[in-house]
């Protein structure tokens, strides 16, 4: 009955397996060991040892400084079996900040989202949401406390209509009990009318009123992504977590989405944390960015700082030989340009771990597979 995809084995590997051709890639010869950004399991502890390579230096946006951060994460870590998937992750997000979480596939970004929303219980570390520890809370409590999220692989209520998807999210704000529901009492009518209006307002905001009574599963991809954001917003969160909101979108759609995300922040005055591979989006709207690699934070700062950080560039583009050496030279001369070149120009290359073999083989082929793998999901 569960039509959701179920994977067996280690749940950590969220970013890799969605490419459709999992970690066997590690065995392929064109993956030079010196080439960085591989989408493989690397034990964070093994890679970095115990010291924190990048202590927490998050700078909150100026306007949020007077308030306590909406989210404070201290030394968060999780082990799956013996494998440390994420370690020593610290982060603070201001009340109205748009923050980004980037890093190659398998770096642990979605795992962090899952820990924040208690889909996974963190092994170490503390999470303070709205100045309260989230210890002992479950996914439902987290949402009630004001954290809402979207999913990398869209998870809508496919058989409900667009409007119902939003109404469901409003359930905590729909005030009637079971007997009212069964007998459609006046209170039921009042409340239903109210949430109908509220849902329509939300749809208006996202310009989706014309598809209000379409089934969510029948929407085109971009609209499904937007609906997921709307549904999360309808729970009236303080912090919105977006997991690859621009995945599968073309550049113009991405630009549209960028605008929307900004609007959401401005209109609702909430904080947004997003995972994204599209650098134009991340660099364009995020005020603070954390970069993960192998489960560890390797850089934090403003977009400008991140773009010029040599460690980030290495994580993304890696050190390479042969053909790539030329590019490395360019990197050395002008790392920023190389970074932008590698990331921003196209979707395929914005996933460096996939772009890498492309350099040695027919350019773009693995990237295509990667995209296709996404589409199949």
């Amino acid at each position: 009955m569960a039509d959701d995809k179920i994977i067996k084995g280690d749940p950590m590997n969220t970013d890799i397996s969605d490419t459709g051709h999992g970690y066997e890639d590690r065995e392929l010869t064109y993956y030079d060991d010196n080439v960085g950004g591989r989408a493989v399991f690397v034990d964070a502890k093994e890679q970095w040892g115990d010291e924190d390579p990048y202590p927490d230096t998050t700078i909150l946006p100026e306007r949020d400084k007077d308030m306590t951060p909406v989210l404070e994460v201290k030394n968060l870590g999780i082990d799956f079996g013996g494998l440390t998937a994420v370690d020593n992750f610290s982060l603070a997000i201001g009340r109205t900040e748009i923050a980004g979480l980037i890093g190659p596939n398998g770096a642990g970004k979605t795992t962090i989202f899952n820990m924040l929303t208690k889909v996974y219980e963190p092994t170490r570390g503390e999470i303070f949401f709205n100045s309260k520890s989230t210890e002992g809370m479950n996914t439902v409590d987290i949402n009630k406390a004001g954290m809402a999220r979207t999913f990398q692989n869209i998870r809508l209520f496919d058989k409900l209509t667009v409007e119902e998807n939003i109404k469901v999210a409003l359930h905590s704000y729909t005030d009637y009990h079971l007997l009212n529901a069964v007998f459609h009492s006046p209170k039921y009518r009042r409340e239903e009318k109210r949430i109908h209006e509220e849902a329509m307002k939300m749809l208006e905001l996202f310009e989706m009123t014309d598809v209000a009574d379409h089934k969510a599963g029948s929407l085109p991809y971009g609209a499904q992504r937007r609906l997921e954001i709307m549904r999360a917003l309808a729970t009236k969160p303080r912090l919105l977590l977006l997991d690859e909101p621009a995945a599968g979108m073309n550049p113009s759609e991405t630009a549209e989405l960028m605008k929307t995300i900004k609007e959401i922040r401005d209109k609702f005055q909430i904080a947004i944390l997003l995972i994204e591979h599209d650098m134009s989006l991340v660099m364009g709207i995020c005020e603070g960015i954390a970069v993960l690699n192998y489960g560890r934070t390797i850089a934090k700062g403003t977009p400008a700082e991140i773009q010029s950080n040599p460690q980030v560039i290495e994580a993304y583009l890696g050190k390479s030989r042969g053909k790539m050496e030329e590019e490395e030279d360019i990197e050395k001369q002008d790392p920023e340009a190389a970074f932008k070149k590698g990331k921003v120009t196209s979707k395929v290359e914005s996933r460096p771990d996939r772009a890498k073999p492309a350099a040695d083989h027919a350019k773009g082929t693995p990237g295509k597979t990667d995209k296709k793998g996404k589409e199949i999901r």
């Binding site: 009955m1 569960a2 959701d4 995809k5 179920i6 994977i7 067996k8 749940p11 969220t14 397996s17 979605t110 899952n114 889909v119 999913f151 692989n153």
Partner: protein, 294 residues
Amino acid sequence: MNFLNSLISGLSLGSVYAIIALGYTMVYGISKMLNFAHGDVIMVGGYVSFCLTMYMGMNGWIALALAMAVCTLLGITIERLAYRPLRGTGSLAVLITAIGVSYFLQNSALLIWGANPRVFTSLFNGVDTIHAANGQLTITAESLFTIVANIVIMICLTLFVSRTKAGKAMRAVSEDNGAAQLMGINVNRSISMTFAIGSGLAAVAGVLMCSAYPVLMPTTGSMPGIKAFTAAVFGGIGSIPGAMIGGLILGLIEIMSRAYISTELSDAIVFACLIIVLLVKPTGLLGKKVNEKV
């Protein structure tokens, strides 16, 4: 002594359940469907063997082999005609079809053999019962053979699944149907083979069961079928050793509660134990826990 007697008959009944449960568990593993007609294949096996020995005077063992052949064919046919057209349409549709097949088999048997119970001649007719400990401990040949047969079947099946190419193909298909197909595995053939093995084993179970409890009716298979299904879930559905353990435990619980608690409530006790086990281990004793990817 009384306890030992109960233990032996419990193990014997449990072995029958285990053999039936194997059919359930293998079919579930490979096609994720609850084959409710499986219990009725047992009944068909019993009747075929009964007819061959009664009307054609055949040796019981040859009859058993032929019954296995008939049930194997029956299993393949059922899968081909009733289940294959519905593959990939969700387990409920197949479940109801399986129930339709179950009705079909029961009513066909009713038409062919009538509603009156037939007395089955045991496979071990004339074989002496073993008496031990001054005659207080009795071990019938049926019990002994059932237990041994169960162990042998289990070993063979485990070896088949883990060592042979066909067995590995079956495992691959149950793990990921689509990927197996891409690897060049003939999914249809693997599924047919699973049904064939399960149904052949059902015939064995039918004959063994009827040897121990010699009453044969069109509905003979349904209750053991349900119990064996329960046993498969008990042990963790999809797991071959799970089916064996589940079957044995279920048989023991049933016989023990009949002997020491209440004959009439034995079924209720069996099912209550199942519920308790699932509450503690939600995927059965040896079932794999599957994590949903987020």
